[in-house]
Symmetry: D2
Subunit: 114 residues, 4 copies
Amino acid sequence: MAEESAQAVLDRLFRLIEQRRLADPASSYTAKLFHRGTHRIAKKVGEEATEVVIAALRGKRERIVEESADLMYHLLVLWADAHVRPHDIWAELARREGVSGVAEHTGRNEEDRD
Amino acid sequence: MAEESAQAVLDRLFRLIEQRRLADPASSYTAKLFHRGTHRIAKKVGEEATEVVIAALRGKRERIVEESADLMYHLLVLWADAHVRPHDIWAELARREGVSGVAEHTGRNEEDRD
Amino acid sequence: MAEESAQAVLDRLFRLIEQRRLADPASSYTAKLFHRGTHRIAKKVGEEATEVVIAALRGKRERIVEESADLMYHLLVLWADAHVRPHDIWAELARREGVSGVAEHTGRNEEDRD
Amino acid sequence: MAEESAQAVLDRLFRLIEQRRLADPASSYTAKLFHRGTHRIAKKVGEEATEVVIAALRGKRERIVEESADLMYHLLVLWADAHVRPHDIWAELARREGVSGVAEHTGRNEEDRD
């Protein structure tokens, strides 16, 4: 495969995921997930993140790639479910860069947020 | 801001993160995180994923965007720490599409994996 | 310290936690947590569980004990917040034993639950 | 069921779990979990914690009890796997009480720990 851009892959996946939002739950894994609701989608994001954490601790490079792909997929589903566009996330990341002048975590005081 | 592509934002962020890998831990949040080690980076990924889960359950659209940006940032750090390129994740996602013919979760039997 | 029973420690802790539920948020860490709400309590449970996972993967026995104590404490707060008594959990564990005849995970089909 | 103490339930469960540590993996869910290793046990703890978080956010009292029982069960397995006794956790909780004079979270500076 020629190197396809993140943009191309993520955009295409997101469009396909959005098409499944209102599809028959029996037609696909993703349609079923939307049908079950936000808490089932969120559960999958939590589980896949745990898998990424464990793969990283074990130093298993191949598993990190696989589990990160699983996590990204379910994040795209969660965003679609919440009517968030992937672009909103990239814009937020770019905005923070702009604010800090560097691509640095902005150190928001997490304890004070509600 | 004009719409910048996912590719452009993620590539630039990843390069900046990689530059911080060997920087003085006192120089930035990210350099400190690398210095502390894989388990601290993985901890942040787990925490930010929990925040995304909670924001989704609460239906807080703005918080979903913010927490997802936090999660993406720390995922990029975890990938850099494990010598995984973001492109490896997009290629894995594209590969699964190719295998299934549709952008569908491949339904690997998770219980049988070790 | 003489060996104090799980019952004695957990009961006393739970009573103290319940007393903090309506206390001035400025008076203690726990009172502040209740004041901030269920999502903040749940966030702490998610974070402490991630810490237990990481300590287990690293094989750090002392850290497993410390992080498990943190997790238990915040679980007690979550139960108090939801008007669940610790005894409800022990009764559920005992009930499953009774059902299966052995102290065995009952293998409920988690995929079919909503 | 008469009210059985936390001590009685947790002690009995822990003994049964320890017996499964070296049992034939085909003999039970728990024996299989031990056989698969620490990362599979840790994964279950992470997943069940996510379920507790979600049940709490949804305000589903019955689900909080069920998922908390699942979490406690897998925590006992994780402790057995790490050669930690449940009593070590209760003693740590009691120790913190003694130190602070109240059953209050001790506010260890989590950011400074490695």
